[in-house]
């Protein structure tokens, strides 16, 4: 079993940006997008997210799996819950409104009525902009951020050294544990173990995973004692930790951090001080259904 990280250097503008600035921008987008249902603000945040995503120079092939996951989520939340059942709009969209199909419509020779309102349809658009804005900035992180940078990034963002180092160390263990997992799987298969055999009831099927998970977990625990001893012998935790992978701010990183702070402050001010927090439908949207 080969484990490969999705990150590779693409010589993109995003590769030149400090990971700390990137996390700060991503969280500014998250809080800005979730602070309001105002269409203009959401559209502005969405455009910023699209620009940010384009800086990563990611191809569809790279991120296909992540987008498939988001599509399933969007389908459930928007198509099923907001458009078809109307449940997803509850609490945000006021009851009533203008019907999209006031006289119903014909399907396969039958006359059907559908309670979808113009307001609910706009809510679906707003929800789409909000979720996509957040998804665009967060889905790209594993593809565009070097795995060596996580530990030092979180340490420099204020996480205690031991916690940051735990994160760093877990990256290091992944290939080893993946190899152990494969060796265990092969060894159990050689003994007649069948993970996907169709026999047995529900509980038996679940218990069938045990011969795989138990040896892998117990081996990992036993070997971790040696690692801890080796770290203690080398004086782990005695002094403030230094990191092999150094981070350095450039002027553009400061500019991104300042922009993120301004963006968030502006959105919060507009939403909570100038009454632009609640859901509203633009006039032109009604015009489309007149």
């Amino acid at each position: 079993m080969l484990v490969s990280w999705n990150y590779r250097y693409r010589n993109s503008p995003l590769d030149q940006i400090d990971p700390r600035a990137r996390f700060i921008f991503s969280f500014a987008i998250l809080f800005a997008a979730t602070a309001t249902w105002n269409p203009n603000i959401l559209f502005g945040v969405f455009v910023l997210s699209v620009i940010w995503y384009s800086l990563g120079k990611l191809s569809w092939k790279d991120t296909k799996l992540g987008w498939m996951m988001i599509s399933i989520m969007l389908f459930t939340m928007i198509v099923v819950n907001t458009i078809i059942t109307g449940g997803g709009a509850g609490g945000v969209v006021p009851p009533g409104g203008q019907l999209v199909f006031p006289n119903g419509f014909k399907l396969f020779g039958r006359h059907l009525t559908f309670g979808l309102t113009v307001e609910r349809l706009w809510f679906a658009v707003a929800q789409l902009m909000r979720i996509l804005s957040i998804s665009l900035v967060f889905i790209m992180i594993p593809y565009t951020m070097d795995s060596r940078a996580y530990g030092v990034t979180f340490s420099k963002l204020g996480l205690p050294d031991r916690l940051a180092y735990t994160m760093e160390l877990s990256f290091r263990f992944i290939p080893t544990l993946a190899r152990n997992f494969q060796v265990t799987l092969d060894a159990q298969r050689a003994r007649g173990f069948e993970l996907d055999a169709g026999r047995g009831n529900f509980v038996q099927k679940i218990r069938r995973v045990a011969p795989l998970i138990i040896p892998v977990t117990m081996n990992a625990i036993v070997s971790s004692e040696d690692i801890a001893n080796a770290m203690d012998l080398r004086g782990f935790g005695q002094q403030k930790r230094t990191w092999l992978y150094e981070l350095k701010f450039h002027w553009w990183d400061w500019a991104i951090i300042a922009f993120s702070a301004l963006l968030l402050a502006a959105v919060l001010l507009l939403a909570f001080r100038f009454g632009m927090r609640l859901f509203s439908v633009p006039r032109w949207w009604y015009g489309l259904f007149a």
Binding site: V3, N6, S26, T34, W37, K64, L65, G66, M69, I70, I72, M73, T76, M77, N81, G87, G88, G90, G91, V92, R130, I134, S135, M140, I141, P142, S147, R162, Y165, T166, M167, L169, S170, F171, R172, F173, I174, T176, L177, A178, F181, V203, I206, R207, V209, I213, I214, V216, T217, M218, A220, I221, V222, S223, S224, I227, A228, M231, D232, G237
Partner: protein, 186 residues
């Protein structure tokens, strides 16, 4: 008698805990990634994860901090390996799934006793309820989903699959770990 004399320091975070947490997180990521083919379609992308027992078990065995990091960091790594992106609120939920069994670890000394196993099972239910509850409720704020969607598309599929895996596999892991503890005199 022995139990009261050697009280566990469940909030300790020394070198051993750093390594256990790192190993736990890596293990959770690898096993999740290996099983990621089992997805429940149309249920808020909630995967069937046998690996969810790993943060629960690491919490029970090594305390709440190790349990939390195993779930939190492990979920970040698993999503990175699988190409699913970075979803901090679900990572937090997975962390809580390890943290709550960790709180129960103070009451567990012999891992193969019926009482310990029952406490472990209780912690699985509580941990999954709170962890997936927090993660699912975050969707109210993040996605603007309503409570019905949050409960039926996010919370219930994740909660039910987690407790099924946890309730069945955690006792097996605890009994296996009891043998290791006994053999190595830990």
């Amino acid at each position: 008698m022995e139990n009261t004399q050697n009280k566990k320091k469940i909030w300790a975070f020394g070198t051993n805990q750093v390594v256990y947490a790192a190993i736990g997180a890596a293990l959770y990521a690898v096993v999740t990634w290996a099983f990621n083919v089992w997805q429940i379609p149309g249920a808020g992308n909630v995967g069937i994860r046998p690996a969810i027992v790993i943060p629960m078990f690491f919490g029970i065995a090594f305390g709440p901090i190790v349990g939390f990091i195993t779930g939190f960091v492990g979920n970040i790594l698993a999503d990175m390996l699988s190409g699913y992106g970075f979803w901090i609120w679900w990572d937090l939920g997975n962390g809580i799934i390890g943290l709550i069994p960790g709180l129960f670890s103070a009451l567990i000394y012999k891992y193969n006793e019926t009482k310990s196993i029952l406490l472990g099972e209780l912690s699985v239910i509580l941990g999954s309820a709170v962890g997936m509850g927090v993660a699912s409720l975050s969707e109210l704020w993040v996605s603007g989903a309503d409570m019905h969607t949050v409960i039926f598309a996010n919370f219930l599929p994740a909660f039910l699959t987690n407790i099924i895996w946890g309730l069945i596999l955690l006792p097996v892991l605890m009994i296996a770990y009891a043998a290791i503890v006994q053999r190595s005199g830990r």
